[in-house]
């Protein structure tokens, strides 16, 4: 099967600011992909490139085997819920459904009306009068009811309260379970994604730090705690992600597909949050060094 999103050396520059650089990814189909990273890491840029709202300034991107937004058929296959879930303030909920029905050949009207009823939204209500959570649900309904093969959501729950957040995620999961669509959603909070994602991309400092199946990532990352030692002395198969040292003790996070067999230290599993933080800390450290050099 073709990859859902396949990028090669993908980059995007805004004027002089490089928002995304050298991004090479191949996301297998049928996954719920979490895209995490700090604010300004390039998450929105990557997702907007994937749905064709932005064009790359370098490299290539293919979504479902074609260039994003290359024609009506391609747009029909990808659903997108933008950050802050924009809707037409002057149009009613029913108008939004009518809009979806008229603009999407694959529109599933039964699904859309059932969801609106389930959410308890008044079809005559203007979208501008809805709460943030209701508006997000309406935007999600529009994206789902066009029956996309790939659904992309850019920080969909960032502005929602915890209850609305959970409701939103539940709807999303129901949809993916029923329709076997691939989903990519971004957040700056791992907690939002932890329960729902089976594939993870960590984006920081405009670069992809790590990407892979969640299970595999958890299985291959380890925290080693032991007597202070130089990270360079680890065996070849161990990739050191992050190291912190005190006078007597080193804590090192390594990636290794081989089991760790080192009697000199204790080995712990990482949870997803620790793993993401390790990569983000490392990216921040790398990102800082050249800045210091230039300002000296």
């Amino acid at each position: 099967m073709t990859a859902v999103i396949e990028t090669n050396g993908l980059g995007r520059r805004y004027g002089r600011r490089q928002a995304l650089s050298d991004c090479t990814l191949s996301i297998p189909p049928g996954r719920v992909v979490g895209l995490v990273g700090p604010n300004g890491a390039g998450k929105s840029t990557l997702l907007q490139l994937a749905c064709g709202l932005l064009a790359p300034t370098s490299g290539t991107i293919e979504v479902l085997g074609a260039r994003p937004a290359s024609g009506p058929a391609q747009v029909a296959r990808v659903g997108f819920v933008a950050q802050d879930t924009p809707t037409y303030a002057g149009l009613s909920v029913a108008d939004h459904l009518r809009l979806g029905a008229r603009l999407n050949p694959g529109w599933d009207d039964g699904l859309a009306t059932a969801r609106i009823r389930q959410l308890g939204l008044d079809p005559g209500q203007k979208a501008g009068k809805l709460s943030g959570g209701q508006r997000a649900q309406l935007a999600l309904t529009l994206a789902i009811a066009k029956r996309p093969e790939l659904l992309i959501l850019d920080e969909p729950v960032a502005s929602l309260d915890p209850l609305a957040r959970r409701e939103f995620m539940r709807t999303l999961m129901e949809f993916t379970a029923e329709h076997e669509a691939s989903v990519v959603l971004s957040s700056h909070l791992v907690a939002d994604l932890e329960r729902v994602c089976d594939y993870l991309i960590v984006l920081a400092a405009s670069r992809v730090q790590v990407a892979g199946e969640v299970d595999e990532l958890l299985a291959t990352h380890h925290r080693l705690t032991g007597a202070a030692r130089d990270p360079a002395t680890f065996p070849a198969g161990h990739q050191v992600i992050q190291a912190s040292h005190t006078e007597r003790q080193s804590t090192v996070i390594v990636r290794s597909s081989a089991p760790i067999d080192d009697p000199s230290c204790s080995v712990d599993k990482l949870d997803l949050e620790d793993l993401v933080l390790a990569y983000m800390t490392q990216a921040a450290a790398v990102g800082r060094t050249p800045v210091l050099e230039t300002t000296r």
């Binding site: 937004a69 037409y88 303030a89 008229r102 603009l103 066009k146």
Partner: protein
Amino acid sequence: MTWLTWRQFRTQAWLVLTALAALAVALTVTGPNLARLSRSTGLAACQANCEAAADNFVNQAMTVVNSRVYVVALVFMFVLPGIIGVFWGAPLIARELETGTHRLIWNQSVTRTRWLAVKLVGVGLVSMVTAGVFSLAVTWWAAPIDKANLDRMLPMVFPGRGIVPIGYAAFAFVVGVTAGMLVRRTIPAMAVTLVVVVAALVATPLYLRPHLVTPVSFTAPLDTSAMQSVRITETDMTVTGQVNQPGAWVVSNKTVTPSGQPFTGPADLQTCGRANFSKEGCTAWLASLDLRQQASYQPASRFWALQWYETAVFLALSALLSAFCFWWVRRRLA
């Protein structure tokens, strides 16, 4: 897409169309009476030397009500392009970009080219039809008055008659759309649109219309017995002769000395001075200078030629701007 475009546009459409409907009522109520007067005074049938019939018609026709309708219609035709550009053109794209809804709509199964095409062509055609229908109505209503006044070539009347309003409407609308696309915020886009449209409409009679067809030029001895204006001061004197072309639009009218220099005086204070001014003496002195009149004008017969050319220029500008919009929405806008 058509449905959505109309759904978003209908409030603004009704606002403008309601105002136009009020004007339409005024025109239909008063128009037939004007036409009747034009026939009864002989103006309608008159082919040449119509001054008497025209005076008679104007005396009877220009009642308080008709004068007001005439002025309102004139003003309306002047501001209509601005209204179309500011209220129909500028918000069309700017509001979507401002509220972020372009990201919603571009992810329905519609390419952004088609999205722009439907909006641009749909609302653009409504603008042109609106302007066309109202220009037709006003042109019909004012036809006898224009015939009596012989002024439809003049810059105050010309833009509100015939087919040029269609060109102006298309142009103003596309200027609004383009400004909205570039500025990305509704209110600033409206301001930019207003400035550009007003500048274009002011520049047209100054720089464009006189040159659409080469004006008729002539140089003739200045007829000092029938002057259009004479201005005398202590140090200089300017005189302007008459251009005896009924209904023509005088583009330039200069008085020069036999050597070809512009005539600036000074006046002979013996005959033209304030102290011992005599009209005959001053006129005779002026005649002795052997001045010449250099003038150019667009004759009344060119009304429709100028209308067609000017409309074509504005439609061509609109087409260019539209092409730019399509290029921009595909390449630059995101």
